[in-house]
């Protein structure tokens, strides 16, 4: 297990990846959020409260970062399947659940670092800092979101062998999921059709729960139950896929 975590860190701490981990949230916050808040509207109504757009976006960015783990886990799992890395693991008497756990732990540590970075950057830009309890709750929902997208990506990586299909699936998931969610705007103020489609998107629930925690607002129980249910289902299918893969 430790060897697997070591491998994940070695692979995940190349200079390019480290830059991209920092660059993506920075671009969202500085270029997008700062521009919108200064040129269009500095505040936005969320759950009846006027909140700073930069802080609003900060919670959305954390959600988007969990979504980015879908593509990452899809690509890495697929690579590990086609290069027979998983086969080598199995013949080395390593259970595949350990491989999954090692990857989840590593990814969570990356997301945790990004979370801290985003929160501090948003504080510098907007002056808002979440409470400790709010931040802990947001980290918990971020973890559930990570489990959901990671599981979905890993399932796809285990089943989809074709590169073209992989690219299409990645594109069909990540772009619509980002924009048809509450990450960049208040979905409740969007046109009815967008709102309806947005609530079919798991990212909306992840972002809403992170955002409510971030601003110290009431957690919607239905949203929490929805997210927990779909994540449990995805984890169940992940366990099934791994089991099937291990006993071809």
């Amino acid at each position: 297990m430790l060897a697997l975590i070591w491998r994940e860190y070695k692979l995940g701490t190349t200079a390019y990846l480290l830059i991209s981990y920092i660059l993506t949230p920075t671009i969202y916050l500085i270029i997008f959020a700062l521009t919108v808040s200064t040129s269009i509207a500095p505040t936005i109504i969320y759950q009846g409260l006027y909140v700073n757009y930069i802080s609003f976006i900060a919670a959305g960015i954390i959600g988007i970062q969990t979504l980015s783990m879908f593509n990452q886990s899809f690509a890495i799992t697929r690579l590990d399947v086609i290069t027979n890395f998983l086969t080598v693991l199995m013949t080395s008497n390593i259970k595949l659940y350990k491989y999954v756990l090692a990857r989840i732990l590593t990814i969570y540590s990356v997301l945790f670092t990004q979370f801290v970075y985003v929160v501090f950057l948003a504080y510098i830009l907007s002056g808002y800092f979440p409470s400790i309890l709010g931040a802990c709750l947001a980290l918990t929902f971020m973890f559930i979101g990570l489990l959901f997208w990671f599981s979905l990506g890993t399932i796809c990586g285990l089943h989809i062998k074709n590169e073209l299909t992989r690219d299409i699936v990645m594109l069909m998931v990540s772009t619509p999921a980002t924009f048809l969610s509450s990450s960049l705007y208040n979905l409740d103020q969007a046109p009815q059709i967008i709102k309806m489609l947005g609530y079919l998107n798991p990212l909306t629930y992840i972002v809403n729960l992170i955002r409510s925690s971030y601003f110290g607002l009431t957690i919607e129980l239905t949203e929490l139950l929805t997210l927990v249910t779909i994540t449990s289902l995805t984890l169940f299918f992940l366990a099934r896929s791994i089991h099937k893969f291990a006993i071809k």
Partner: protein
């Protein structure tokens, strides 16, 4: 003592596609055993079943006395698999790849570094120790993969097409290396290949299969069993002849004309008289007639019905 014993191994995919059928064989301790067959013959599936990765539809096998169906964990402690694809992290260095694998295999931390340095030294890879695997040539990547296979000692090593994609010099070096390392380890080795020269150089015994087992024996024996002889005829001038008429002689299996020599593979050496007389009838001038020992490739081609 048999290290591997396969008993009527069968694998059927999707209820109807037979990949391997009724395969039985034994491999002794320290023996290098070749699985030969054309593409799709079931070599990789057989290795998959023996390494407990693929579940047999029927039959079973024993590795070091353990059943592949019920004692997977015990078997996995005793084997090493080198798959066809380089199952390495391309963006990690040679050292990191080997370090990770040694760790995975339970080598204590204090021993890992020395073990890696020794094997890299043995394989003349010391200067590549910090190179990313992706920056290495195919041949060097294969070498690193072999280094990983021989990093720790196990009872059985499975090599699936170990020299696939290497140039002739690279292959010869790899074969030499495999032979040397196996000699040191005294491990039993199963090599799946469709490179006949590789089988001839490395294997003590081979099994030719095409879904079902066709023939098994040591390389020299197989040539005798098939009763093959190559009659080499040196011709002064080929003329317009394409030698297809020789194919009509019962017992002629293959004809090949190259550099003034006509090689006729037959299953009965006495056919030389008929072949010579047919060539003379067609006004061809023979400079020399000799018999040549067939290669394992000829045996392979005959076994799989290529004329």
């Amino acid at each position: 003592m048999n290290i591997i014993e396969a008993v009527s191994l069968t694998k059927i995919y999707d209820g109807s596609i037979k990949a391997v059928e009724d395969l039985s064989f034994r491999v002794k301790k320290g023996e290098i055993f070749g699985l030969l067959g054309p593409n799709g013959a079931g070599k990789t599936t057989t290795i998959g079943m023996l390494t407990t990765i693929i579940k047999p539809t029927d039959g079973t096998a024993y590795i070091c006395g353990y059943n592949i169906q019920t004692d997977k964990d015990e078997i996995r402690k005793r084997i090493i698999l080198v798959p066809q694809e380089p199952a390495m992290d391309l963006f990690l260095s040679v050292y990191d790849n080997l370090y990770f694998y040694a760790w995975l295999q339970g080598v204590p931390k204090a021993l890992r570094r020395n073990l890696i340095l020794n094997i890299l030294n043995e394989l003349e890879l010391t200067d590549k120790i910090n190179s990313q695997v992706i920056s290495l040539s195919t041949g060097l990547q294969r070498k690193v993969q072999l280094a990983r296979a021989f990093l720790v000692k196990r009872d059985v090593i499975f090599l699936d097409e170990p020299t696939l994609g290497l140039d002739p010099i690279g292959k010869m070096k790899a074969w030499d290396l495999i032979k040397r390392l196996i000699k040191n380890d005294r491990a039993s080795v199963i090599i799946a290949t469709n490179d006949m020269r590789e089988a001839e150089v490395l294997c003590d015994r081979v099994l030719m299969l095409k879904t079902k087992p066709i023939i098994v024996g040591d390389v020299g024996e197989l040539k005798k069993i098939r009763g093959l002889t190559i009659i080499r005829l040196s011709l002064k001038d080929k003329g317009k002849s394409d030698f297809s008429f020789l194919g009509d002689i019962n017992g002629v299996l293959k004809t090949e004309y190259k550099n003034g020599n006509l090689d006729v593979t037959v299953n009965d050496p006495s056919l030389v008289h008929e072949i010579v007389s047919q060539l003379i009838d067609r006004k061809l001038v023979l400079l020399k007639v000799q018999t040549v020992e067939p290669s394992i490739e000829d045996v392979f081609l005959l076994t799989f019905g290529v004329k």
